[in-house]
């Protein structure tokens, strides 16, 4: 492989972002063209890397180099895992760039939007290519800031500004643990470079507690970025951003970075069974909770957001169930169908003049044919309908749970049922029945730049899970996991149970929601997201902000007030200095200065 290719992939979106932000700010059309072209070139380069096989010598340049004390390179790792992820990120990225041309056509800050989209591509590709912890952390943070910028794209809306802050700060809490985990691993192995750590960490006889702590701290990073409990609160709010952003960043790529990172450092995760158990449970609990919340939401994007949380929970859980191949497989299929569902939702929102409440839609199947058909493909893939992509990847995760932990398997199965339930609810309410509003009665498909990406993603949502595609795309990434899972047995009962729960969920929701004008069920606990946002708000106000106010009071009135004013003699000091300042002449200063000098010389020379 040409060693320039990864450099091109990484730097090309950075150049695009810089060009747009620095030069093209006022020419929005050119900005969009530059950004879309850069995304397409990125895809071409990723395809080039895909076909050019393994890399030879490692590609890296020093960034911080303190010899043996600390070495942080900017270096690339080109292996089956990163090649797959490159394709996913650049492929879906390119489609969403094209889709954005229409969706953001009349936005007054179009240049800023496309510039930030390019910035996001740069950051995300940096995570994918990173061959060491520190570089991954760098791009990890950059992804956080590009997400912040895009969520807050319409920053004059208070809710968007609030959501952007929430996303960034919540992610930073996760990154606190991540960085600490990196420091722990580094202190033990003396390196931050993945292959070096992998080669060394097994030989060090580290204590189980140390490994568990380090792994769980690194996992904190994934909890933040992949929005797992208890740091999941930012993702639903992130839907304040433009819908293509939700599709690209908050569904297909960025939120999957946590899963990718865990797959990348699986050599570390694998050393600690305790940490794996925790990871598996956090993942599955997130999956169930998010699915429960999704059943009672009315905003089409929020339903999809909770669904994303839930599916990410599956992937994280799979990592903990020693099936990183299954996690990556689900990441792969999910990227297509979830991006598709978001873009489909975006097409509807666009056609209905920014209507997001599903109860104000209805009957769209006849007027938005392309959107309807492609959305159906994504819908069937997500709920695990046999022969659609999601069915195959979810099946592997269920199988892994079956073989490792019955309780987790039961929860995973329940999640599959809930997924079918809430998605059928959405589908029935939005597309079937009668139109409930005027806008819904006049909605129509968008132009080809919008429907094109939908059709391509629709195709992949159907086929991406088929065994031969899975073999081709994932290959070595999943072969080990697949091998283990096949040996473990149980695939037939798992498949039957999965299909049954899919049928039960779909059927139940169809019966309940078909032809209804408003929600027949009301479960406040789910609708209000288990009151977790309220709980956190109270916690922040009751601890952090209260604590801050107390300390600020202490600082102002005790430390500064009594301590300082008392010491300096209050009024006397003020009067003296004021007179001093009003003199304003240099004589006084030179006089005092002279005293200081004399004193210095006296003490130094004559004191002894």
């Amino acid at each position: 492989m040409d060693p320039h290719l990864p450099w091109f992939i990484l730097l090309n979106p950075l150049v695009s972002a810089a060009l747009i932000h620095l030069v093209l700010r006022r020419s929005s059309g050119t900005s969009a063209t530059v950004s879309v072209l850069s995304a397409c070139f990125g895809l071409l380069a990723a395809v080039g890397i895909w076909f050019s096989g393994q890399s030879g010598a490692p590609i890296e340049v020093p960034w911080l180099d303190f010899g043996p004390a600390l070495r942080i390179p900017i270096g690339f790792i080109i292996d089956p895992l990163s090649r797959l992820m490159l394709l996913v990120v650049t492929g879906i990225g390119a489609l969403i760039h094209i889709y954005s041309l229409i969706y953001m056509e009349h936005d007054e800050a179009k240049s800023r939007y496309f510039g930030n989209l390019s910035l996001f591509m740069f950051s995300m590709l940096g995570i994918v290519l990173a061959n060491n912890f520190a570089m991954m952390f760098i791009f990890w943070e950059l992804v956080g800031v590009s997400s912040y910028l895009l969520i807050g794209h319409w920053f004059t809306r208070d809710s968007a500004a609030a959501a952007a802050n929430k996303a960034f700060i919540t992610n930073r809490i996760g990154d606190f643990g991540f960085m600490l985990g990196i420091l722990m691993v580094w202190s033990a192995t003396g390196s931050v470079v993945f292959p070096e750590i992998a080669a060394k960490i097994g030989t060090l006889n580290l204590s189980a507690d140390f490994l568990t702590a380090a792994t769980l701290l690194v996992f904190c990073g994934a909890v933040g970025k992949s929005a797992q409990l208890p740091l999941h609160v930012w993702l639903p709010d992130a839907m304040e951003g433009p819908t293509p952003v939700s599709a690209l960043i908050h569904a297909a790529t960025m939120v999957a970075a946590g899963v990718y990172m865990l797959a990348r450092v699986y050599f570390l995760v694998a050393l600690s069974p305790d940490a794996q158990t925790v990871i598996a449970w956090i993942g599955i609990v997130t999956a169930v909770f998010a699915a429960l919340m999704a059943t009672q939401q009315d905003d089409i994007k929020r339903i999809l957001a909770y669904s994303t949380l839930s599916q990410l929970g599956y992937m994280i859980s799979a990592i903990g169930l020693a099936a990183p191949g299954a996690a990556m497989f689900h990441l792969f299929t999910h990227a297509f169908f979830k991006a598709l569902l978001f873009l489909g939702a975006g097409a509807i929102i666009h056609a209905l003049h920014h209507e997001q409440n599903i109860w104000h839609m209805g009957g769209l199947s006849s007027r938005m044919r392309v959107t309807f058909l492609t959305f159906t493909a994504g819908f069937l893939a997500l709920i695990g309908c046999p022969f659609f992509s999601g069915f195959f990847s979810k099946d592997l995760i269920l199988l892994a749970a079956w073989q490792h932990n019955t309780a987790i398997f039961a929860l995973a199965l329940f999640t599959a049922f809930l997924t079918a339930f809430y998605m059928t609810r959405l589908f029935v309410v939005v597309f079937l029945g009668k139109s409930r509003t005027d806008a819904a009665a006049h909605g129509h498909d968008g132009p080809i730049a919008m429907t094109g990406p939908l059709m391509i993603l629709g195709l992949f949502s159907v086929i991406a899970g088929w065994p031969w595609i899975q073999n081709y795309a994932l290959g070595e990434v999943s072969s080990h996991t697949l091998h283990l899972l096949h040996e473990g047995g149980g695939s037939v009962p798992v498949m039957i149970l999965a299909t049954l729960s899919f049928l039960a969920g779909t059927g139940g929701a169809y019966v309940l929601y078909s032809g209804k004008a408003k929600d027949p069920i009301l479960i406040p606990l789910f609708k209000n997201k288990f009151y977790i946002d309220e709980l956190y708000a109270a916690l922040i106000a009751g601890t952090q902000d209260l604590f801050a106010r107390i300390l600020a009071w202490f600082d102002k009135w005790i430390l500064d007030g009594i301590g300082v004013r008392g010491l300096s003699g209050g009024a006397w000091g003020a009067g003296f200095v004021l007179r001093f300042l009003q003199w304003g002449n240099l004589q006084a200063y030179s006089f005092l200065f002279g005293i200081g000098v004399v004193a210095l010389i006296y003490f130094m020379v004559f004191a002894k």
Partner: protein, 501 residues
């Protein structure tokens, strides 16, 4: 070369006091200084390293007191910081009705003092130049400040005067602790000779030049003295009020440059001469710096005015630099030195932009601001960049430095038995990164995002005189952030030479 660097601002300031046009003369002088500093950096022989551009004119030969100038990589980076921030501060100075010329003269005197302090290789002048720079700072706040300028002015004066006095005592104590004669070395004010003697003594005898027991007291006094100048907890309370009421260019110069003198001095003197003292007091320093990060961090969260918030945040970030110094190894100290540079640039940019908002809302209270990103797009974007720089976003120099500080402190170079305490401090410092995101993003949202709170037709347009210096500061942060090695190439060898081994 260094003589010229000190001479230019002094000459310009005198010329202004004698009637030369203030702004024009200052612009010429600060541009000349910046170009000359860049030239000095380029002509510094990195392969040879060590102190270069040495010049010395004896003042009192029998006391070995000379006007001795020299610069190593560390000094050069600090000189570059001085030159850039001075340049930006002069550019951004608004029009004054009252005694404009005196204002510019004061700015240039601060610059001259800071330049002199960083370029001095003689203890006496090292101290004296800093004093020289403090006096015009007090004047600027007292005469041109806003809000409670008189209270702020007397507070900073009393505080820093006391701090300088303690520092003076510390220097004397340090001087007295040095053996009068060893081998060919005779005690004097020559900082280069002191550093060399310390290294030679350690190499020859395995013992430090100053006996371990004699290092304890001077280090403590120096820590208090320098610490007051740097706003180390609990000697910090002068800083936020002073920066809040100081005129913008004065806040930029003091927070950006002059405050770094204390850190510079601590590195320059205590690392080679008082390593045992540093180890002895490591517990105290760690305690205080954690207070700087966590305690001040929380106090910052509670602030409701932009200028006070920035003042506190600047105090908080000193904790990270202290952590790098406490780490006592090449990684941490390099991080601390780079962070001095980065923090100086970013806080200068933040104050520069904040100053432009003052005409809109003199109190700068969050309650009265909001949505300014729409009406002031340039300032909004620039403030965003500077804010993200200051909370350690990768790409800006602050991140690279903080990363080094964390790595350095997690595996400290001193007192292996004390490692777990260093790690604890590092954990607190990492939590501080979250805290700083909280207050900075809240402030950014309150001021620039959300709906516009105040209708006004007179939104100031960012002119070239405002844009150019801000862009320069941000560009320097980005260059040093993307390519930290370019700055580290100067810092690392100098710090390696300072570290006892």
């Amino acid at each position: 070369m260094l003589n010229l660097l000190i001479f230019i601002p002094n000459l310009a300031a005198l010329a202004i006091l004698l009637g030369a046009p203030g702004r024009k003369t200052s612009l010429v002088a600060s541009t000349a200084s910046l170009l000359l500093t860049l030239f000095a950096l380029l002509s510094y022989d990195k392969a040879a390293g060590g102190y270069q551009f040495v010049s010395s004119s004896p003042i009192v030969p029998e006391w070995n007191l000379s006007y001795r100038l020299a610069a190593d990589g560390l000094s050069l980076v600090m000189l570059l910081l001085t030159a850039i921030v001075t340049f930006a501060a002069v550019w951004i100075t608004p029009r004054f009705e009252r005694r404009e010329n005196l204002f510019y003269a004061c700015l240039l005197f601060i610059a001259a003092g800071a330049t002199g302090a960083f370029a001095s290789a003689d203890l006496f002048f090292f101290y004296a130049f800093h004093e020289l720079a403090l006096i015009p700072t007090f004047l600027l706040i007292g005469l041109w400040g806003s809000g409670e300028r008189q209270t702020a002015a007397w507070k900073i004066t009393i505080y820093l005067a006391l701090g300088s006095f303690v520092l003076l005592i510390g220097l004397i104590d340090l001087y007295n602790a040095i053996p009068a004669k060893w081998d060919t070395f005779t005690r004097g004010f020559d900082m280069i000779a002191l550093q060399k003697a310390a290294a030679a003594h350690l190499a020859a005898t395995g013992q430090p030049l100053i006996p371990v027991a004699a290092q304890i007291r001077p280090y403590f006094i120096l820590l208090v003295g320098f610490g007051t100048l740097i706003s180390l907890f609990p000697f910090h309370s002068w800083a936020p009020t002073a920066y809040a009421s100081a005129p913008t260019p004065a806040a930029m110069l003091h927070a950006g440059v002059l405050k770094k003198f204390g850190l510079y001095g601590l590195i320059r003197l205590s690392i080679p001469l008082l390593p045992a003292g540093a180890q002895h007091w490591a517990w105290l320093l760690l305690l205080l710096l954690v207070a700087n990060i966590i305690y001040i961090g929380f106090v910052t969260i509670a602030q409701h005015k932009l200028d006070l918030m920035l003042g506190y945040s600047s105090v908080m970030h000193m904790g990270y630099i202290f952590l790098g110094i406490a780490a006592f190894n090449i990684v941490g100290l390099s991080g601390a030195a780079l962070l001095m540079f980065a923090h100086g640039l970013s806080i200068a940019a933040l104050f520069a932009i904040t100053g432009q908002l003052r005409p809109q809302s003199p109190s700068l209270s969050f309650a009265t601001l909001g949505g300014l990103g729409k009406t002031m797009p340039f300032l909004g974007a620039a403030f965003g960049c500077a804010a993200f720089a200051s909370i350690g976003l990768p790409g800006f120099a602050n991140f690279a430095s903080e990363l080094m500080v964390f790595f350095g402190a997690y595996q400290p170079g001193a007192a292996p038995a004390f490692t777990s305490n260093y790690r604890l401090a590092t954990i607190f410092a990492l939590w501080g990164v979250v805290i700083s995101a909280v207050y900075m993003l809240r402030a950014y949202r309150a001021v620039f995002l959300g709906p516009l709170k105040k209708e006004s037709t007179a939104w100031p347009v960012a002119t070239f005189a405002i844009k150019m210096p801000v862009i320069l500061l941000l560009a320097a942060l980005l260059i040093a952030g993307f390519f930290p090695s370019s700055v580290l190439a100067f810092l690392k060898p100098s710090i390696e030479a300072l570290l006892p081994r």
